[in-house]
């Protein structure tokens, strides 16, 4: 399944709401919570992390992972939390608007 344009940032922010993760962890978490439906290429996820970091929505620190290995962990900042709320409400509006236009499924009838 392909991702809708512009939703990747929101998904990353939402994923980090659960706690700090390293880049690979973010990819795995998104895949897991989408029941393996979404497979985001690391080649596009990684620049998204850098973009969000540049905007100050996420921060990063070097830390030791569960398997006792060093990795860079990303965490949500206060600005990121605010941005997530904003994107979430925009997303809700978007979904409900599209749903209203689409209506119940006449094509199934």
């Amino acid at each position: 399944m392909d991702l809708l344009q512009g939703t990747l940032d929101m998904l990353v922010l939402r994923t980090l709401l659960g706690g700090p993760l390293h880049g690979y962890g973010v990819a795995k978490a998104i895949r897991a919570s989408s029941n393996e439906e979404l497979d985001i290429e690391f080649g596009s996820l990684y620049p998204a992390l850098k973009r969000l970091e540049l905007k100050g929505w996420i921060g990063s620190d070097w830390a030791v992972s569960d398997h006792n290995r060093k990795a860079k962990f990303y965490r949500l900042t206060a600005a990121g939390r605010k941005q997530l709320r904003r994107e979430r409400s925009e997303w809700d509006t978007f979904v409900s608007t599209v749903a209203r236009i689409m209506g119940p499924r006449p094509e199934d009838a």
């Binding site: 690391f42 080649g43 290995r69």
Partner: protein, 883 residues
């Protein structure tokens, strides 16, 4: 956007890059290789987030441009210096204009301040300069509250102030108790003057000192509050220190002390007009209520003002005046002038010269701009193959334009920095030409910084876009296939640029020439008397506690002692300072059987016996003043007068004025009882530009006292200064001698404006000619190089070297000719704007114009001869082989 700019900084970028590599390596260990995919692509995509394509290409262009400029040092140096000089000159003058003309007072909401100005006819005398009102009128107005939030009155003067020991003269402002409150100025320490200092005359012996005075004269003493000082020998108590930022209301006059108007008699013993309804001496400022426009406020004020005028004519003491005068008096209005900038005599006189200089530096900047455009065109031409190659390899026009603009940007930044470094230099030169009481800083403030950057960047855009536009039009194939020779593109444009430069330089040079000639003409004309070995100083015995006849005695004693000094020939006293722009002027009634009033004000003065002799002014008829005219009886007042030649000619024609009678003033009831006893030669009183009708009265008649003493020495003036001070000290050790200086020095001061214009305009014109010459040199070198083969062939075919040089010089001659043709109408148009600054020379002055044209032509041809000769002298065969 701003966060991304950090990534242009190589150290920052490299650190982030290293960090990213480490992160990706760590992930490669943790993660599934397949799932991660190509880490190189991930890294590249991340880099693009940091530095989008356009940003990194711009960074690349800037670095490339900088490297190119380092390689082409001459081009870079000449360009940067051109911009730097242009921007520097402009910013410096702008900095002064900003400080002198545009800066608002550092008080609360200065834009709501207004100055009250009487428009129409006044009755009674005035003391001071401009916008004068009487103190009772100010008090009447103070009761009005529909228009003003508050009003204050002030009188700028100087007092003798002594802390311990000898007194010195310091500027002091007499102010009403409302002054600081209405201005919204808060004390640095202690308290400022307030309404409690406004009650009874003579009963508020308190003073506020300026921050600077507190620091420099009181040694920043912590116990300053309550300190006693003597003001004109009268003890007063310091109650507060004004804030550091507040330096009074006048640019060019910074008070050291503020004293309540109620202490007028003590502060200004020469006159006490606190209750005089017709004596005008205070400046009245008001603060408008919020939201009130000046026009509305002014309209609201008139009915009340009219009622005040009516009431005044019915008061006891209203003088009998002619019906016409009364009508005009009652028709007077009270005008409100914006006063957010304060009030300044100096600003008025300096405004025009400063704006002229700002315009001149604007032209210099334009010239510099053309120079750099020209250099950029030349450089673009020399790089045309590279450009063509890039185009044919698919570089977009936008991309090439960006590269050109990057070069301009580098030049602009370097030029702006150079310019800013020059600002203090130029500003200091100008400050040195101004009187010392003008507070100007040579520093660079944020406003000036913004101005310089805006000037440099707009300049760079102007000159950068020309070659960029040009490059966009080149056809790469033609350039790449092009053998050398043929018509070079852009030569026409470059010639046009240089021609305009010649025209601009010519305009500036002619302007400078006019100002130099004006200065020279005024200097040559002189004051109408010999200023060699002539000096002057002021004493004011009344301010040192000498009252009535005692003050007169002190003045006479000083005069006598000075006359006896070795090396002194003669000495005399004048009420008024000469050649400082001010005068005692008033209408005079003449009665020689036929009673008439002079047209307008006559310049009056009080002079002692010996004054005319000291200056060397001849008595043309009758006699000068003698000891009997300088009587002691105050009730007699003036009994005699001397008029000058112009006065005699104007009002008596061929008849002798001796024996005719005069009266000061023009009312129908003034008694003409001053007998004209002599006619003196003409000399300059107010300044060198004007020669007016004058009348003089005996300075030492009655109790009159003090003033300026003029001394003619047989030795160099300066060597007599010490003994003059000593003589005054012998009469009263506490009485200061002030403004001791030579008359030559005074003359120089009176020529301040002319000197500023002549000096700076010449400097800017020289700069302009230099820039234009560089432009000519550049274009001629270029043209010559292009035509080397043609010249070689001509020489081979037997034409002389001289004729080949002439061929090249023709280019320069045509450019100079067109430049002159463009410049002349501009000079004519601008000349009308500066005409009132000129003296003894017309704006279209033949000598100046011819001189300037010859100079510019010589410079241009000189600049052309060098490359022309180089081309011709070069070995013939080598020339031919070259192509």
């Amino acid at each position: 956007m701003w966060r991304r700019l950090k990534f242009l900084w190589p150290f920052f970028y490299r650190a982030r890059e290293r960090d990213m590599q480490e992160e990706l390596e760590a992930l490669a260990v943790i993660g599934d290789r397949r799932e991660l995919g190509s880490l190189a692509i991930a890294a590249e995509n991340a880099r693009n987030e940091w530095r989008p394509e356009w940003l990194s290409s711009l960074a690349w262009d800037i670095r490339y441009a900088a490297r190119g400029l380092v390689r082409d040092r001459t081009f870079a140096l000449v360009s940067i210096l051109s911009i730097g000089l242009g921007v520097g000159a402009n910013s410096a003058i702008y900095s002064l204009v900003d400080q002198a003309l545009f800066r608002l007072l550092p008080v609360h909401e200065p834009e709501r301040l207004v100055l009250l100005n009487w428009r129409g006819r006044t009755v009674g005398p005035g003391w001071g300069t401009g916008n004068l009102l009487s103190f009772p009128l100010y008090k009447d107005l103070g009761a009005e509250d529909s228009v003003f939030e508050g009003l204050f009155a002030r009188y700028p003067t100087a007092v003798q102030c002594s802390l311990r020991g000898a007194a010195e003269e310091v500027p002091a402002e007499l102010v009403s108790g409302t002054y600081f409150r209405v201005l919204g100025v808060k004390a640095a320490f202690g308290r400022l003057l307030d309404d409690s200092d406004d009650r009874r005359p003579g009963e508020h012996p308190v003073a506020v000192v300026s921050y600077n005075f507190w620091k420099t004269r009181l040694g920043a003493a912590s116990d300053v509050i309550g300190m006693k000082i003597l003001i004109n020998s009268f003890p007063m108590t310091i109650v507060g220190v004004a804030p550091e930022t507040f330096r009074g209301l006048d640019w060019g006059y910074i008070p050291a002390l503020w004293i309540p108007t109620m202490m007028k008699k003590q502060a200004t013993p020469e006159f006490d007009w606190l209750d005089n309804r017709r004596g005008r001496w205070v400046h009245v400022f008001g603060r408008l209520k919020p939201g009130l426009s000046i026009a509305t406020a002014q309209a609201g004020l008139q009915p009340r003002f009219k009622a005040m005028l009516d009431a005044d004519t019915k008061r006891a003491g209203w003088p009998q005046v002619a019906p016409g005068v009364l009508r005009d008096y009652l028709a007077s209005t009270l005008e409100l002038l914006p006063a957010g900038h304060g009030r300044s005599e100096l600003r008025g006189t300096l405004q025009t010269p400063l704006l002229i200089l700002l315009a001149a530096t604007g032209l210099v900047l334009l010239l510099a701009c053309m120079n750099v455009a020209n250099l950029c065109l030349a450089r673009a031409y020399s790089r045309r193959r590279e450009t063509a190659l890039r185009m044919s390899l698919g570089a977009s026009r936008r991309r090439l334009t960006q590269a050109m603009l990057a070069q301009s940007l580098v030049l602009a930044v370097a030029g702006a920095i150079t310019g800013l470094l020059l600002v203090p230099l130029v500003t200091r030169t100008l400050i040195a030409l101004l009187p010392e009481n003008v507070s100007l800083s040579s520093g660079v403030n944020p406003g000036v910084l913004m101005f310089s950057i805006a000037a440099a960047v707009s300049t760079s855009l102007l000159f950068g876009l020309v070659p960029a536009f040009h490059a966009g039009r080149t056809k790469p194939n033609a350039v790449l296939k092009e053998e050398s020779g043929g018509v070079a593109p852009g030569v026409g444009l470059r010639k046009a640029l240089v021609t305009s430069q010649i025209a601009l330089a010519l305009v500036l040079l002619i302007g400078a020439g006019l100002f130099v000639r004006t200065f020279a003409a005024l200097k040559a004309q002189g004051p109408g008397f010999n200023a060699t070995n002539l000096f002057r100083f002021q004493i004011d015995p009344a301010k040192s506690g000498h009252n009535g006849l005692r003050a007169k005695r002190v003045t006479e004693q000083v005069l006598d002692l000075v006359r006896q000094l070795p090396g002194v020939k003669t000495a005399g006293l004048s009420f008024q300072e000469l050649l400082n722009g001010y005068a005692w002027g008033q209408p005079i009634t003449i009665d020689d059987g036929r009673r008439r009033v002079t047209d307008g004000a006559i310049l009056c003065n009080g002079i002692s016996p010996g004054f005319l002799e000291t200056l060397g002014i001849p008595i043309l008829a009758g006699r000068g003043f003698n000891a009997r005219d300088a009587h002691d009886d105050a009730s007699l007042g003036f009994r005699v007068a001397i008029v000058n030649e112009s006065f005699a000619k104007r009002y008596f024609g061929d008849k002798s004025p001796i024996g005719a009678r005069l009266a000061l003033g023009d009312g129908p009831n003034v008694k003409a009882d001053l007998e004209i006893v002599g006619v003196m030669g003409n000399f300059h009183y107010r300044g060198l530009r004007t020669l007016e009708e004058q009348a003089a009265f005996p300075a030492l008649a009655g109790q009159t006292t003090g003033g300026t003493i003029f001394v003619r020495s047989v030795i160099r003036s300066e060597s007599a200064f010490a003994s003059v001070r000593e003589a005054a000290r012998r009469v009263d050790p506490n009485m200061p001698v002030t403004e001791l200086r030579t008359v030559d020095d005074q003359l120089d001061r009176s020529l301040m404006n002319e000197r500023i214009l002549a000096t700076l305009a010449s400097a800017f014109a020289a700069l302009a000619v230099l820039l234009a010459t560089l432009g000519v040199y550049g274009v001629i070198s270029f043209v010559t190089t292009r035509r080397t083969r043609e010249i070689g062939i001509r020489l081979a075919l037997g034409s002389s070297r001289a004729s080949a040089v002439r061929l090249i010089l023709q280019n320069a001659i045509v450019m100079v000719g067109i430049g002159v043709a463009i410049a002349m109408p501009v000079v004519w148009a601008l000349g009308r704007l500066v005409e009132n600054q000129l003296f003894g020379v017309r704006a279209m002055d033949g000598v100046t114009i011819t001189g300037a044209v010859l100079l510019v032509a010589a410079a241009s041809l000189g600049a052309s001869v060098v490359p022309a000769r180089r081309a011709v002298v070069r070995n013939l065969t080598e020339t031919l082989r070259l192509e």
